[in-house]
């Protein structure tokens, strides 16, 4: 037993370098580690760009960086497979040495890139330290490997190798976030996965609530610019994630000159031709939408105020102000019921028209051909297709208040036309289960404002038409 399990003191003694060559190597490694650790303090990333040559070489970083990645991942593979084929294990040491050299090259180029382009920020700092620690891990692995092959320290080298791989994954992820922006990986991930990794890019400003800046300018900048000009990464010393930072500008000075869009660098850069090298958003990202550019121009023109609520000459009927459209909730596939549907159409004269060739978009019930004869009883006949009917055109039909009972079962309904019918609104409360309903047309009926009260609780119901009814609002527009 004693022979196989040496005392810890004995292990330590054997680990300490005994011959001068190994001691020299250890010393050199120590110096390299110290140098790597002190480098971030010597070469500071101050957010301003330096020298073209630095950028020229620096831009090879994304290319070269894949070399150590490949080599490092190869090492554990070689070690494991090497148990069967010793030749592979022999190669592992060489590959590990090569990986370290590649690490040093990648770190050097990384420094040149960051310093040359004047990038700074949280993500880049993390990436920098990740790269440093990774290089150190590789170096330590290299140093402890001989002891492992000799069978002296069976745990240290594998542990270090595992650390190396973890550091590699983490550092590579930070690098990826720098290139493609935060959330690139999770943007299209399935819902639960995305929520797990959710980290907002920037918070909507609360101080200037409802101002044009918060409602229109900030969201545009947040969606298009903040991934490079935000807290994680600060290209050109410019941050756009708050009003103060936006107005402070970057290393080239102010980017917005109130009242003068043509002299504001920010506006100039987003309106350049897309193939211009100064065009923003850079890196092949899509250009801002025409209306967004118009907003930014008008906002700068009219003083770039953080609190102004509206601007003259600018459409405020923007997406964010209009009621948010519900994503269409798919209905089940009715294809199998087609023969039944055809039969119903023939017997009732009303039609069930597909919204589109995609069955999950649902059916429209149209009664225009038989409107006068289409009453409560006929509607009840269609109840069995209710899950597939997303729109019911019952305008000018003979349906009455009695139909609200039937309609309460049509839970897929998005639009309901009851214009010119005899309904008076008694029983509108029964529509409450129609959670998808966004449109209700009661024009030309005898509904009163009192009867409409229950509709107020239906949150998605944005369009209620009451033209030519006792409940008609005084204004011309009767949309809610």
């Amino acid at each position: 037993m004693k022979l196989v399990a040496p005392t810890s003191a004995g292990k330590a003694r054997r680990l300490l370098p005994t011959n001068p060559a190994t001691r020299r190597a250890g010393l050199a490694a120590l110096i390299t580690i110290m140098a790597l650790l002190s480098l971030p303090f010597i070469v500071r990333l101050d957010g301003s760009p330096h020298g073209n040559w630095q950028q020229f070489f620096g831009r090879f970083h994304p290319l070269v960086v894949h070399l150590p990645i490949g080599l490092i991942l190869l090492v554990p593979l070689l070690e494991v497979l090497g148990r069967r084929r010793p030749a592979l294990r022999e190669a592992a040491r060489f590959v590990l040495g090569l990986a370290f050299a590649a690490c040093l090259a990648a770190v050097t180029l990384g420094y040149l890139l960051a310093r040359g382009s004047g990038t700074s920020g949280a993500t880049i700092t993390l990436h920098l330290w990740g790269g440093t620690m990774l290089s150190i891990c590789v170096l330590l692995s290299l140093l402890t490997r001989p002891a492992w092959t000799a069978g002296d320290a069976p745990r240290i080298y594998p542990a270090l190798l595992a650390c190396t791989v973890l550091a590699l994954i983490w550092t590579a992820h930070q690098g990826g976030s720098l290139t493609y922006g935060n959330g690139y990986l999770t943007e299209f991930a399935p819902g639960p996965l995305r929520r797990l990794s959710a980290t907002g890019v920037a918070q909507v400003p609360t101080r200037f609530q409802d101002s044009f800046y918060s409602m229109h300018i900030f969201p545009v900048l947040n969606a298009n610019c903040v991934s490079c000009h935000g807290s994680h990464e600060v290209k050109g010393g410019l941050r756009l994630d708050s009003y103060e930072l936006l107005m402070r500008g970057g290393s080239d000075g102010a980017v917005i000159i109130p009242g003068q869009p043509d002299r504001s660098i920010l506006f100039a850069r987003i309106t350049l031709p897309t193939d211009d090298k100064h065009f923003m958003p850079s890196g092949g990202r899509p250009k801002l939408k025409p209306n967004e550019v118009t907003w930014i121009k008008a906002w700068i023109q009219q003083g770039a105020s953080p609190s102004a609520v509206s601007l003259t000459g600018v459409s405020v009927a923007s997406d964010s102000e209009r009621p948010k459209e519900l994503p269409l909730k798919p209905v089940g596939d009715y294809s199998a019921m087609m023969p039944e549907i055809r039969q119903m159409e023939q017997s009732q004269g009303a039609k069930l028209v597909p919204i589109s060739s995609n069955p999950s978009d649902g059916l429209v019930l149209t009664t225009v051909d038989v409107a006068a004869k289409f009453g409560d009883a006929q509607l009840a006949q269609f109840q069995k297709f209710a899950p597939y009917i997303v729109e019911a055109e019952l305008g000018r039909t003979a349906v009455t208040n009695a139909s609200f009972d039937t309609l309460s079962k049509f839970t897929s309904l998005r639009a309901l036309h009851l214009e010119g019918t005899a309904v008076t609104g008694d029983g509108l409360a029964k529509l409450a289960p129609l959670s998808q309903l966004t449109y209700l047309n009661l024009s030309g009926t005898n509904v009163t404002s009192a009867a409409l009260a229950p509709l107020k609780a239906m949150k998605n119901l944005h369009h209620v038409y009451l033209f030519n009814t006792p409940a008609q609002p005084a204004s011309a527009s009767d949309a809610r």
Binding site: P290, V314, I355, S356, D369, A415, E419, F467, N468, S477
Partner: protein, 517 residues
């Protein structure tokens, strides 16, 4: 006479039905009887069986792609395209066609700086190498004619609108104004064909036919696609329009637009003559149908089907059209909105009112033609008349649709076939000027289902001559309209003459996202 099944030099042609071939092939053979008839008529000298196989199955008859891969064109033609590619924003459209080419500079394309350039020549660099029409190419000078009318800002959007269009001004916040529409044609005929059918040559189906083919009917008693012509004002310069603009081209003819006349009876011979009651009419139609069914069985020509369908439609229209054009039940609020003009059949306002009534009755596509916009001279006299005839009615239609809850799923389009020049055709005086055809830019608008409200899209240069930002060529315009109605213009095709024919033609077209809600 007993003949060899493979004999081609004989009266009846090969008897495929008795040949040992797969049933699939026999079915196809039955479907292509038209071809047999066609070649039979041309004297049977061509060795037609061989020719037919060389040309492929759809050599002589169209074929809707994707409807049925088993080669049953007659069935496809009858059933149409079935449904849109994706859930559309608009279920129907109303197209206000301003035939002749409205002058954008005097209406919606505001160019305040032109006033200072009155009677100066337009720089040659702006015109470039453009070939002008014969009407102005001989002019020694191209003097700039600023708009005679002042402009005002309207609505929350602050859109500049000419004093000629005070009603349009009231609805700018609902409109999607496109200042950068441009076309390839400089003369009426090719330009109006291009705008309507996507091709300068006659014979292609128009937008309305495509939509009627693709969307199908919602109302069996009215045509899916209706055309309303506005009564001609003889003081205006009226260019001819005719049924080629609402023809169905290679699509089966039941998808062609059905026109209502602007005066007299809306549809000729729609009322039964004296002594003929509805029952007699029904018997007559039944008899005619029997004969037509025989012809159909004999020839398999889809056009026979179209004819049967049209007779039936006409019979039903005998009931539905009188109801459609009976305005006696319209409330006073209608007349307050549209004005007294709307009571006169054939006026633009009357047609707009009919368009609203058709939208209510499930007509998918209504196109109203208003002629007279071809203002080569005398702009300051003619243009106010044209605007007075149309401005209020356009506003009334949009407002009426909106208050009745129809604008949510109705796309309204206002367009001509091209614009007009900034320089004066003929003499320029402080009181008057003329404007020639101008294809490089013109202003159009849309509103309603699918269009983004309160947007002015595209920009022209300071002379309203060239588009400087976001050009919208006709094919992109049409692709965008199709999108609003649920179609992908690249997939919405009909196989004819060996090509996947589509409204936007072979040149790549793209949907203009900036116009969409």
């Amino acid at each position: 006479m007993k003949q060899h099944p493979n004999c081609t030099d004989c009266e009846q042609g090969p008897d495929v039905m008795n040949m040992p071939v797969p049933t699939e092939l026999k079915r196809e053979w039955a479907a292509i009887e038209t071809r047999r008839q066609f070649l039979g008529r041309s004297g049977k000298v061509l060795g037609w069986a061989g020719l037919a196989s060389l040309l492929g199955e759809t050599a002589f008859i169209g074929d809707a792609r994707g409807a049925d891969a088993k080669g049953q064109p007659a069935k496809q033609a009858r059933d149409g395209f079935a449904s849109p590619h994706f859930a559309p924003k608009a279920k129907r459209a109303i197209y206000l066609f301003m035939s002749g080419g409205p002058p954008q500079i005097d209406l919606l394309d505001y160019k305040p700086n032109l006033a200072a350039l009155y009677d100066k020549d337009i720089p040659a660099s702006v015109r470039g190498a453009q070939q002008l029409t014969g009407m102005t190419s001989g002019q020694a000078r191209f003097p700039i004619a600023p708009s005679h009318w002042a402009f005002k800002q309207y609505g929350n959007t602050g859109t500049w609108v000419s004093d000629l269009l005070p009603y349009t001004g009231k609805m700018v916040d609902d409109l999607t104004i496109i200042k950068s529409t441009n076309t390839d044609a400089i003369n009426h005929e090719p330009a109006i064909m291009l705008m309507n059918t996507g091709n300068m040559n006659a014979g292609k189906p128009c937008l309305g036919s495509w939509l009627s083919f693709g969307l199908g009917s919602m109302n069996d008693n009215l045509p899916t696609f209706m055309v309303l012509q506005t009564k001609v004002n003889p003081k205006e310069n009226n260019q001819p329009v005719s049924s080629r603009l609402w023809g169905s081209g290679y699509l089966p003819s039941q998808y062609a637009g059905v026109g209502l006349r602007s005066s007299g009876e809306p549809v000729l011979y729609l009322t039964d003559p004296n002594g003929v009651d509805r029952e007699v009419r029904r018997k007559m139609l039944d008899a005619v149908e029997q004969i037509n069914q025989q012809t159909l069985a004999e020839l398999g020509d889809p056009e026979t089907n179209a004819r049967i369908a049209q007779y039936e439609m006409a019979y039903r229209m005998q009931m539905s059209v009188p109801e459609l054009v009976d305005l006696s039940k319209e409330p006073q609020s209608t007349w307050d909105l549209y004005g007294e003009d709307a009571k006169e059949p054939g006026s633009f306002a009357y047609n707009c009112l009919l368009a609203r009534r058709m939208a209510e009755r499930g007509v998918r596509f209504t196109q109203i033609y208003k002629r007279g916009w071809d203002v080569h001279d005398n702009v300051t006299v003619t243009l106010p008349t044209l605007c007075a005839e149309t401005d209020r009615a356009c506003y009334a239609l949009v407002t009426d649709l909106k208050r009745r809850g129809l604008l949510d799923d109705t796309l309204v389009i206002w367009a001509g076939e091209f614009g007009r020049t900034v320089y004066s055709q003929g003499g320029l005086t402080p009181q008057n000027y003329g404007r020639d055809h101008h294809p490089r830019c013109f202003t159009t608008w849309m509103t309603g289902g699918g269009a983004r409200p309160g947007v002015t899209y595209g920009e022209t240069d300071e002379y309203s001559y060239n588009v400087v930002k976001d050009p919208v060529p006709v094919r992109d315009f049409n692709a965008t309209v199709l999108r609003c109605l649920g179609f992908d213009h690249n997939k919405f095709t009909y196989k004819f003459q060996g090509l996947e024919q589509k409204l936007t033609g072979p040149a790549p077209a793209s949907v203009v996202e900036g116009l969409l809600a």
